[in-house]
């Protein structure tokens, strides 16, 4: 009875909240794009300013690069927290993994997945994608390995220390490029002018591709660490 009352009350509250939200959202005027302000400027002169064809990458790694630094710091913090909470000294000894055919097929596919990941990372300023998306694809390789070959395979090849090295290396690359911006151009995370080449080529857009590479390594290694920390306990019980 008590539970039913609670359910009814919460449903009433939820309906009320939904109604209030709907009322308020219908107040919002139809968005027609803005004739002045941030987005208009970026659409007009984003290409000239940054040399990046992809304007979203231009926003992420040039106009608002500090946000991206904060964002990768959030992942760094999450990784540290997860490793702290789940740290166990147990080495994951694996199950045998899937069948021979699957392993062979994956062996053929892996280079292409890695290639796609690197493509997404390095072409962040030309096509959709960038450090974050490509980094997740790289982490996915690690995840697929642990499913198909059994978890110890990837673990033995790339120890947690290596992954940590990649992760902090990526973060420090980002920070270092920012400091280089202070030294060479005068402001933190300013686009490095001397790296700019002809627009539309791979080595254009100043420091954006290099930041992308740093972020890609950071995110990939960090997410792989998260995944490996989370599957460790299963194997502890297998003993």
């Amino acid at each position: 009875m008590n539970k039913l009352m609670k359910k009814i009350m919460i449903s009433v509250v939820l309906t009320g909240v939904a109604f209030a939200l709907y009322q308020n959202f219908s107040l919002m005027p139809e968005y027609q794009g803005l004739n002045e302000g941030l987005s208009n400027y970026i659409i007009k002169s984003g290409l000239n300013d940054t040399g990046s064809l992809n304007l979203i990458t231009a926003v992420l790694y040039d106009y608002r690069a500090f946000d991206s630094l904060g964002e990768s710091t959030v992942i760094f913090g999450a990784v540290s927290g997860i490793v702290l909470i789940l740290s166990r000294k147990m080495l994951p000894v694996s199950s045998k993994g899937l069948s021979f055919i699957v392993k062979r097929a994956l062996g053929i596919m892996t280079p292409f997945i890695a290639l796609f990941g690197f493509y997404v990372i390095t072409h962040g300023h030309l096509t959709p994608g960038g450090g974050f998306q490509g980094g997740v694809i790289l982490a996915a390789i690690s995840i697929i390995f642990s499913i198909v070959y059994g978890s110890a395979f990837d673990y033995r090849r790339y120890s947690p220390q290596t992954k940590t090295l990649f992760e902090t290396g990526g973060a420090l690359t980002f920070l270092g490029l920012g400091l280089a911006g202070i030294l060479m151009e005068g402001a933190f995370l300013q686009n490095l002018g001397f790296l700019t080449a002809e627009t539309g080529t791979l080595i254009s857009a100043g420091s954006i591709p290099y930041i992308n590479i740093g972020v890609g390594f950071k995110v990939g290694a960090g997410l792989a660490i998260i995944f490996y920390s989370m599957i460790q306990k299963t194997f502890e019980e297998d003993f």
């Binding site: 992809n54 959709p128 994608g129 960038g130 998306q133 997740v136 996915a140 995944f227 989370m230 599957i231």
Partner: protein, 80 residues
Amino acid sequence: MAVLEIILVIFLVFSALMAVYFDEELISIIFLSIFSLVLTALYLLHKAADVALAEAVIGAGLNTAIFMSAISQIRHGDSD
């Protein structure tokens, strides 16, 4: 275009409903993954390619893997 969008939106709401409705966690997670895929398609329809790519790799790929690895080690019922 509009028809495709409506179909996708119906799928979206349906998969979200199912993800909430089922008590079994595994089914919920699979529906959440489907939800992310449909959302990816909708992002593409709305001309947001970067967000679509991010949603595809993070929402449908990584989140599913993390959720699965979480439920694979959760024991039920035996409180000690």
